[in-house]
């Protein structure tokens, strides 16, 4: 049976199984969802056993549990593939912007809408269903191990220790991850580079309580203004991040890579219109695709101070907070950048306020070689599924664990990702293109054929 026929015969069961995962709100950054993390891990164990694994189990860690599953094929010389995915998801706020319940899949115009439709429950299902097809049809010539974690969206705090302790169990010939995007639906691509991440919370404290802005305004430093002053200084008028030393280890983008990027079919006008802004902005001297993938960046992810309710409360707030992050490029070290950031922010703090910085998240960038057998097998898989040779593309997101895998397990990772920008991961109305999803299953099954 061809993989396409297998998908069509089992399509409604695939969707039902996917839905059973989506209905579990496994939000890792909200402690009240802890029981959902365990439920979601247990559900994956059931699905992995049903797909054909000989064993699967929930394994404890210092944080949310891991899912581990294993398939051993008859051939004693078979290569081993380690498939990593994550079963946790992002929060869903602001809820009022969702057109359907984020915890109940809704299929409209060939897309499945739900939190986790893509990131990463939908992409993990591609891996598991491609595996199932190969095993159930007697085609699988590789050993396969699955390791699914429940803390990816909060920076994988337990992963490094877990893979260190279970290093032998996790030995493989290549690691396979579906958690990235393609350039476009008709432009298949394999992510060969990722940005690192450093994420902090800043707390600015002014007076010891909210003050009446009439009685104190003009005589006391306003911590919200102090925070704005500090954050406004972090990017200069040429779009450079101003943290001293920030660019010291950034490697220039090779001329050949810049040419490849320039050759990617990409409409800046479509990109601008899709997000509805009047202009695109960023670091002087770089194109949009370079800015969002090969160059480091600074963003405010959240910010709050004082009165945020209805109407006009006239206070001078005691506190102001921001959640900020830098996307880093390979060779920038997130811990070095964190140290530079903390020092700089404290230098920027004006008289009259105190500033605390708490690191929340960090990870290194990653570059994957394109001349290894596993990359070639993945390339072949995309070519069969999408009818075109995929581009090798650096992407702007971060999967900090990929560099942990390389360091701890000594293995490279192939990023066979089937997301699309319009899937709106982390946002309201996250979705997955079902046509791409099915092609993903084809591509991964072809990967196994060619890698074996």
């Amino acid at each position: 049976m061809t993989v396409q026929d297998y998908i069509q015969s089992n399509r409604s069961r695939f969707i039902d199984e996917w839905a059973s995962l989506i209905r579990i709100p496994s939000i890792s950054c909200q402690p009240e969802h802890q029981p959902d993390m365990v439920r979601c891990a247990e559900r994956w164990v059931e699905l992995l056993l049903a797909a054909g694994c000989q064993q699967a189990r929930v394994m404890p860690s210092d944080g949310n549990p891991f899912v581990y599953a294993e398939y051993r094929c008859a051939n004693p010389n078979a290569k081993t593939v380690l498939v990593y995915a994550h079963y946790d998801v992002m929060p869903v706020e602001p809820l009022e912007l969702w057109h359907s319940n984020p915890w109940e899949p809704s299929i409209r115009d060939g897309r499945l809408y739900a939190r986790g439709a893509d990131d990463d429950k939908g992409q993990a299902m591609i891996q598991v269903k491609a595996f199932e097809y190969m095993v159930q049809n007697g085609l699988m010539q590789c050993n396969v191990k699955f390791i699914f974690e429940g803390e990816e969206e909060i920076g994988s705090p337990s992963l490094e220790k877990f893979i260190t302790v279970h290093k032998d169990l996790l030995q493989s010939d290549i690691i396979l991850v579906s958690d990235t995007t393609m350039v476009d639906k008709d432009i298949p691509s394999i992510t060969t580079g990722l940005r690192g991440l450093a994420y902090w919370q800043i707390e600015v404290t002014g007076p010891n309580r909210d003050l009446h802005s009439g009685h104190f305004g003009g005589a006391v430093k306003n911590p919200a203004i102090a925070l704005c002053e500090m954050l406004a200084k972090l990017i200069d008028d040429k779009g450079h991040v101003t943290i001293p030393g920030f660019y010291d280890k950034v490697l220039p983008i090779p001329a050949e890579e810049r040419r490849m990027i320039a050759d990617i079919p990409f409409s800046e006008e479509n990109y601008r219109q899709a997000i509805d802004v009047d202009a695109l902005c960023g670091e002087e001297g770089y194109s949009t695709l370079e800015r969002n993938s090969c160059r480091p960046s600074f963003d405010i992810c959240g910010m709050w101070s004082g009165y945020t309710g209805e109407g006009s409360k006239t206070i001078l707030p005691s506190k102001a907070y921001a959640k900020v992050s830098c996307r880093l490029v390979p060779n920038q070290d997130n811990e070095e950048i964190a140290a530079l950031f903390v020092q700089y922010i404290k230098e920027l703090a004006p008289a009259g306020v105190r500033v605390e910085v708490t690191p929340l998240h960090g990870g290194q960038g990653y570059v994957c070689p394109i001349d290894i057998p596993a990359y070639r097998a993945a390339e072949k898989g995309f070519e069969v599924a999408f009818g075109k040779r995929p581009l090798a593309a650096r992407r702007g997101g971060s999967i900090p664990i990929i560099s942990d895998f390389e360091r701890v397990l000594g293995q490279k990772t192939i990023l066979m990702g089937f997301g699309l920008e319009q899937n709106a991961i982390h946002s309201p109305n996250e979705s997955m293109d079902l046509d791409v999803w099915e092609k993903g299953i084809v591509a991964v099954s072809e990967f196994y054929r060619h890698f074996a």
Copy 2:
């Protein structure tokens, strides 16, 4: 019976009546409290009748109702005093910082703690209890009218129309208001000037949805950064507000007034320590007391954008908001300043974002003469109650309606306020010093004696 004896004989009833007002959460800026506004107005009607008014009623307006009450004395040539107060209060968030329930008075160390303990339920009680003493003991030689509103904390949107329509009903020889502070418990003072206010909400819109900060960061203008950049430009490094034309109508502080201010016993060190900051800041060339009362100022009262929950959501937000205000000085027009502000903010908006400004609140400053009989009577009242002649002091807060009274009713207002900075109005753990509160009743009753 002396006023002191009357207070002691009736003290527990006074506190009970005060508590019955505090228990009604009359928060005017939160629409769900609308029924509480009506309940609070009705409770005041009961208390004003019980205190000795011959008539009292709730009167409808375009917004929350007004309370009107009247006492007419036997003497046909008696002067008429119009007492204004407000029965609405500020929100209580953040609730976790309160040491006791804000809606249930708690007496600790000679202070009564609750939302409205001072502003303005506590101060309005001073007025009503002084009135009650005079009437119940056959001493009142003035006609008295009371007008209490329920929208002071949201900028009194219905007041101007109400006093215009009811101009004849509200005719008086002087207006008396207890809603201001004294310099200190041992330094009685009468507020002779107030600052005006202009309050706006700014909405900055970047992309049409929250974006993944990895996929877009570096290529799209972050609206929270844009907001910080704009707000950081509103005060320069000498503490001046940078809105073009902002200072055009600001009159210099007269040399004599600067000398008077310099003579006020005021410890900058105590002021700094009380709010626990390492330095006081403000406009270059002015003292702290000048900065917070005689000079205009700019503050951020609230600010929010993106993800503000626990953990680290990696987004580039779609929206960023701020609630900002200027305190203005007499002769600055709040509508002119609003026009200048809106124009300047739009000029500051960088490419890649759209900016909207919504005016929320506005009012003019005020100056009161110190050579009129009513001022002299008030001065005498403070002197009897506190044992010292009160200072004439300009204060930094705003009671925009005072200038409306002057324009519409043609009458000056005497600000007999008994608040203290440490009462923490608008903040968690608002309180009233019960010793000062009793002296306030003495002072107001003495005002009636000397004004009659």
